[in-house]
Amino acid sequence: MNKCKHCGVFIEDEKRCPLCSRNIGEAGEGAKNVWYPSYGKTETVPQLNFAGKVFFFISIAVMSICILINILSGIGNPWSLFVIFPVLYLQLLINNTILSKIRAGTKIILQVMGTSCFLFFIDLLSGFYRWSVNIVIPFLLIAGTFLITVIVIKRKMLWNEYVGYIIAMIFLGFLPVFLYLTGVADEIWASAVSALYSFLTTIGMLVFANKKFKKEMTRRFHI
C-alpha cells in the first residue's frame, strides 16, 4: 500500500491517487484495480432511430416550406393545412406505430386518437359536414376497443398489462356521445353504438374476468 504524499491517504492496487490523479509510482506497472471492473472504452449511446430522425426533419422541412409559400401567395386560402395534417399523421404512423418499440396497446390508442384528430381537422377544413364525428370516430373507437380485447383474450399471460388500455378505450368509447350532447356531432346512432360497445365490454369484463378485473380495477383506481 502506497501513500499519496499530496493527499495524505493510502492507496492500494492503483498507480494513481484517485483524489489528485498524481502518479504514486511505486505501485508498479502490474497494479490492477480489484474493487471494480475495468470499464474500458465505454460504448457511447448509439444514435437510435436514425430513420425516425430523418423523417422528422423531412416533415419539418415540408411543413415549413408549405407554410411559407402559403403565406407569400396569400393567406386567404389556407391550403397548407391540407399538407400539415397528413404529414403530422404520417409522423405518428412512422415514428410511433412502425418504428417505435412501445407496447401494442399504446400504439393502438395513439393511432385511434391520432387518426380521429387527423380526420376531424380534414372534415373541419373541407366544410365540416360532420362525417368524422358522426360516423368515422365512433367506429374507430369501436375498432380500437375490439383490437385490444382480442389482444387481452389471446395473450392471457399479459392480462393485467393490457387492462389499463381496455379501461382507457372504454372511457374513450363514451366520447362520441359527449360530442353529440355538446352539439359537435349531429347524429346519434353511431355514437350510441360506440357507447353501447364500451358498456358491453365493461359488462363482459365483469362477467368473464370477474375477480381479476375487479382486483385490477381496485389497484389501478386506488386513491
Partner: protein, 424 residues
C-alpha cells in the same frame, strides 16, 4: 399469493422524479473475505427474495397513483459491469426494481428508493449474505440479528408506517432559501464515479467525542468545511452550504417496516471570510441536535404526508401529480441543499459472521443539482465514506479526506471505480 402494495409517501416522490441523471437507485454492499461464487449467491437470492415480498415487486401504472405488484419471475444475480447506481431497464431485470451484483469479493444490492430505505436494504443484504454463507457451509449463528430466511414475512414488515403513524395536526412546512450548488464538468461518458475512504470507526468516534460531537456531526462538519475550502473560499458566495441528512424515523416510532420510513433534515452554515472547522462543528452539532428532536421530526413527516392525504390531491390523475412533484423536488427540495450525507450507521452482524465480512459500502446516487453525494456505513469497525459524483472535479473529496487525515491523524485507505478518468 397475488400481493400488491401502494407506494409509500417517500416512494411516490422517487417514482415521479427518477430519470437517467437522477436514478433514485442507491447501493449497499458488503465486501467479503473471499471471492463470491455466483451459483451460491443465486441460490441464496432465490430463498431470500421470497422472505422480502415488498422488494420482489414490479411497478404498475395506476390512474390516481402508481402501485407495486408482486413479481413472480426470477431475479438473476449479475456480475458487476456497469457504473454503480446506473438506471434500471425494465427488460434487463424481469421488471424487478432491484439488482443483486457480485464482483470479486463484493456482494452489492442496488435498489430503487420507492421500495425501501437504507434500513430495509441493509436487512435484505444481511439476510442474503447470511444465507450465502450458510450455503457455503460456514457455521453461523443468527443471534437474532438477521431476519430468518425460512420465516414467513411479518405483516409489520410490510406496513406503510407513514400512513400508520400519521396524525392530522398543524404542521408548518419550512421553506428554505437557495443553497450553494456544486458545479463542475460533467463526466464523459455520463456515469457515476465513486471514491471510497476506509478508516477505523472507533478511532473516528473517539476523535469526534473529544470534540464533543457524534460521528455524523463530525463528518457533516468536515464535509461543509471541505466544500468551503475546496469550492467557495476564493469566490464571492452568499448562499449557505447546506447538507441534507436522511433520518431514520424508526428511532422515534416503534416501526418494524422494511419499506421507506425516513425523513430528511438540513443543516447548514453561511460562508464567511474566516470560517474555521471548530465554528462549523459547533453550528452543525447545535442544529442537528435541535432538528433531531422527536417533535421536529414528527412535524416534518406530517407536513410531507399531509399533501398526499388532501382529498383534492387524491383524485388528480397521477401524471399531473408527477409533474407537480417534479416541480416541488427541483425547486424546493433540490434547490435548498448542497449535498446529501447519508450515514446508515453501524451494521450489526452476528459475531460468527463478522470474520467472513471485511467491510460495507453505501453509494448514494448523485442528482443534477447535487452532483456529489456522500454515503457512510460501518461494518466490523471499518467505517467507509463513499463519495459518488457525476462531475470531473474531485477537489471537495480530496479536501475532505486530506482534512480528516491531517486533522484527526486517521489512516485512510482510498480506492475508486475510476469512471470517467482518462489516464495517458
Amino acid at each position: 399469493m397475488d400481493r400488491w402494495f401502494k407506494i409509500d409517501n417517500a416512494g411516490k416522490i422517487f417514482r415521479s422524479v427518477s430519470k437517467e441523471s437522477n436514478t433514485s437507485i442507491f447501493r449497499i454492499s458488503m465486501i467479503m473475505n473471499e471471492p463470491v461464487e455466483k451459483e451460491l449467491l443465486q441460490k441464496a437470492l432465490d430463498t431470500v427474495l421470497v422472505r422480502f415480498p415488498t422488494l420482489s415487486v414490479k411497478l404498475q401504472k395506476g390512474v390516481f397513483w402508481d402501485y407495486l405488484n408482486q413479481n413472480n419471475q426470477k431475479l438473476l444475480v449479475q456480475r458487476e459491469e456497469q457504473y454503480p447506481c446506473c438506471p434500471l431497464k425494465a427488460d434487463e431485470n424481469n421488471g424487478f426494481l432491484l439488482r443483486v451484483l457480485y464482483y470479486n469479493c463484493r456482494i452489492a444490492l442496488e435498489v430503487f428508493h420507492s421500495l425501501t430505505d437504507g434500513t430495509g436494504a441493509v436487512e435484505f443484504l444481511k439476510t442474503l449474505v447470511y444465507q450465502y454463507l450458510c450455503l457455503a457451509g460456514k457455521e453461523i449463528e443468527n443471534e437474532g440479528l438477521i431476519l430468518d430466511p425460512d420465516e414467513l414475512p411479518n405483516k409489520y414488515e410490510m406496513e406503510d408506517s407513514f400512513d400508520k403513524y400519521y396524525q392530522s395536526m398543524p404542521a408548518r412546512r419550512v421553506t428554505e432559501t437557495k443553497a450553494f450548488h456544486i458545479k463542475g464538468t460533467p463526466l464523459e461518458p455520463f456515469g457515476n464515479n465513486v471514491i471510497h475512504g476506509v478508516m477505523s470507526s472507533s478511532l473516528l468516534n473517539s476523535i469526534a467525542k473529544q470534540k464533543g460531537s457524534t460521528i455524523t456531526e463530525y463528518l457533516t462538519s468536515a464535509l461543509i468545511y471541505s466544500i468551503y475550502t475546496g469550492s467557495m473560499q476564493f469566490g464571492i458566495y452568499k448562499e449557505p452550504i447546506r447538507v441534507t441528512i436522511p433520518v431514520n424515523l424508526r428511532r422515534i416510532f416503534p416501526s418494524r417496516t422494511l419499506r421507506n420510513f425516513f425523513t430528511v433534515v438540513n443543516v447548514g452554515v453561511e460562508p464567511s471570510e474566516e470560517l474555521c472547522f471548530e465554528t462549523v462543528l459547533e453550528k452543525v452539532s447545535s442544529q442537528l441536535r435541535d432538528k433531531l428532536q422527536k417533535d421536529n421530526l414528527y412535524s416534518v413527516m406530517v407536513s410531507n404526508v399531509k399533501l398526499e392525504k388532501l382529498l383534492v390531491a387524491r383524485f388528480i390523475p397521477v401524471f399531473i401529480k408527477n409533474m407537480a412533484m417534479r416541480y416541488g423536488f427541483e425547486n424546493f427540495g433540490e434547490n435548498s441543499k448542497t449535498i446529501t450525507l447519508s450515514n446508515i450507521g453501524s451494521i450489526k452482524l452476528p459475531g460468527s459472521m463478522c470474520k467472513f465480512v471485511d467491510r460495507g459500502e453505501v453509494i448514494i446516487y448523485p442528482t443534477f443539482k447535487s452532483p456529489v453525494n456522500c454515503g457512510v456505513c460501518t461494518v466490523n469497525d471499518s467505517l467507509t465514506v463513499t463519495f459518488s459524483r457525476t462531475i470531473l472535479e474531485a477537489d471537495i473529496i480530496r479536501c475532505f479526506f486530506s482534512f480528516l487525515s491531517r486533522e484527526s491523524g486517521l489512516e485512510i485507505k482510498v480506492y475508486s471505480n475510476n469512471w470517467g478518468k482518462v489516464y495517458e
